[in-house]
Amino acid sequence: MRAADLLLLVVLAFPGAAWAADVPTMPWWIWPIALFAVTFVLGIVAILSGIGGGVLFVPFVGGFFPFHVDFVRGAALLLALSGALAASPALLRNGLASLRVTMPLALAGSVGSISGAMIGLALPAAVVNTTLGAVVLLIATYMMRAELSERPRGGLADAWSAALGLHGVFHDAAAGDKFDWNVHRTPAGLAAFGGIGLMGGMFGLGAGWANVPALNLLMGVPLKLAVGTSGLAISIINSAAAWVYIDRGAVLPVLAVPSILGIMVGARIGGRMLRTAHASTVRRLVLASLFVAGGRALAKGLGIWN
């Protein structure tokens, strides 16, 4: 499937959901079907772009579907977790993710995400929607300006990176390229993942949008390896936050299960497409989606468009 086809699916799926949200008399079964269709597309886009499904799911489903944002965030964490779980075995086997780089960062991220989930569930819905909208718009603006590097210039490994052996040889099958890389600025990377985890847990965002720049720009991990490693990190970090939502009863099967199934099927396809996908097309698609979804969440939170 080409990226243009994905864009068409997104454009077709979301106005349908928006229309449906205005019709409270719709039978219950419309919602699982609509959710499956939307999350199937999100699953492909999330893995190709490395942003995680939650950052698109929360503003879109929170904005255009009738569920309370508490359930949407619970479902978002579970679907981002599921998408990452589904894609990670293929990413690891294809050499597109590093468990060794992931583990220390996921530990810092998990501390942040559990704290974020606790805070998020204690906040009123209007505050969550307003802050979420602002955060998503900031993410989109940041992503527009950030220039990720396919092949970062090798910096010196710091003491932590050297001690943990965070280095390797990356083989880019699509470009036919092979080069050495090593992680630098590990303490700053750990702090970044702690902060990203906090926001992810608070808003139910997958946090790949921030993981990838942190790994690539801050720590010097090659872009494709950063995307895959971000997915693996999400599978660990979101496990921690998801349990807080499960324990609280914030998992609505009719919302969460079709979303999880959709994202898992989409993510499997996305994982296979990652080796040959054109990053720039996916990036433009994600940016457009983020601006729409962030604007909707902000308008809902401020009571401009309910």
């Binding site: 409270p24 219950w28 079964w29 699982p32 009738p66 569920f67 309370h68 508490d70 359930f71 579970l78 977790l81 599921s82 779980l85 589904a86 075995p89 293929a90 690891l92 086997r93 294809n94 050499g95 597109l96 993710a97 590093s98 468990l99 060794r100 583990m103 996921a106 530990l107 998990s110 559990i114 998020g120 819905a125 490994a157 943990l164 052996g165 390797g168 990356f170 083989h171 390896l225 599978s235 660990i236 496990s239 921690a240 936050a241 349990w243 807080v244 499960i246 324990d247 609280r248 009863g249 914030a250 998992v251 099967p253 009719v254 919302l255 969460a256 299960v257 999880i260 199934l261 898992m264």
Partner: protein, 138 residues
């Protein structure tokens, strides 16, 4: 001097194998329980037709209005098809725990103490989160 490490490494492949198996297991449980739920083979705690009355409520009001169990309380109500879905959800939430136990054994065997310590810290954190002891309020 650094040793050359090309991915996938042996540890990547061990983790991938365990991750794949338990994710498939969780996925299968989720599909089966959702089919049971939506086809009405077993009755749910909250009838599907009534659910739209509640799904717009904040979580605290939803729990109060429907009597939905919190923490691990759902385990006592697996005869209700909506709560049965939490079996698959819990397996997916536990996949990382199982994989980390496997990796802990691996790192202990190859004497990578730093990574064994990271595994133990991550496991403690995940078990704390899953325990139901962390209860935020609103």
């Amino acid at each position: 001097m650094q040793t050359e490490r090309e991915h996938p490494t042996a540890e990547d492949l061990i983790y991938a194998r365990w991750l794949d198996f338990f994710t498939r297991l969780g996925f299968a449980a989720l599909v089966a329980s959702f089919l049971i739920y939506t086809t009405g083979i077993i009755s749910p705690a909250i009838p599907l037709a009534e659910l739209p009355r509640y799904w717009g409520l904040p979580i605290a009001q939803y729990v109060a209005a429907t009597g939905t169990p919190t923490g691990w309380g759902w385990v006592l109500h697996l005869g209700k098809s909506d709560l049965l879905n939490l079996v698959g959800v819990s397996i997916l939430g536990s996949v990382t725990i199982v994989c980390y136990v496997r990796m802990l054994m691996h790192y202990l065997r190859v004497r990578e103490r730093a990574f064994a310590a990271i595994c133990i810290a991550q496991l403690l954190l995940l078990i704390l989160a899953a325990s139901g002891l962390l209860q935020p309020g609103r």
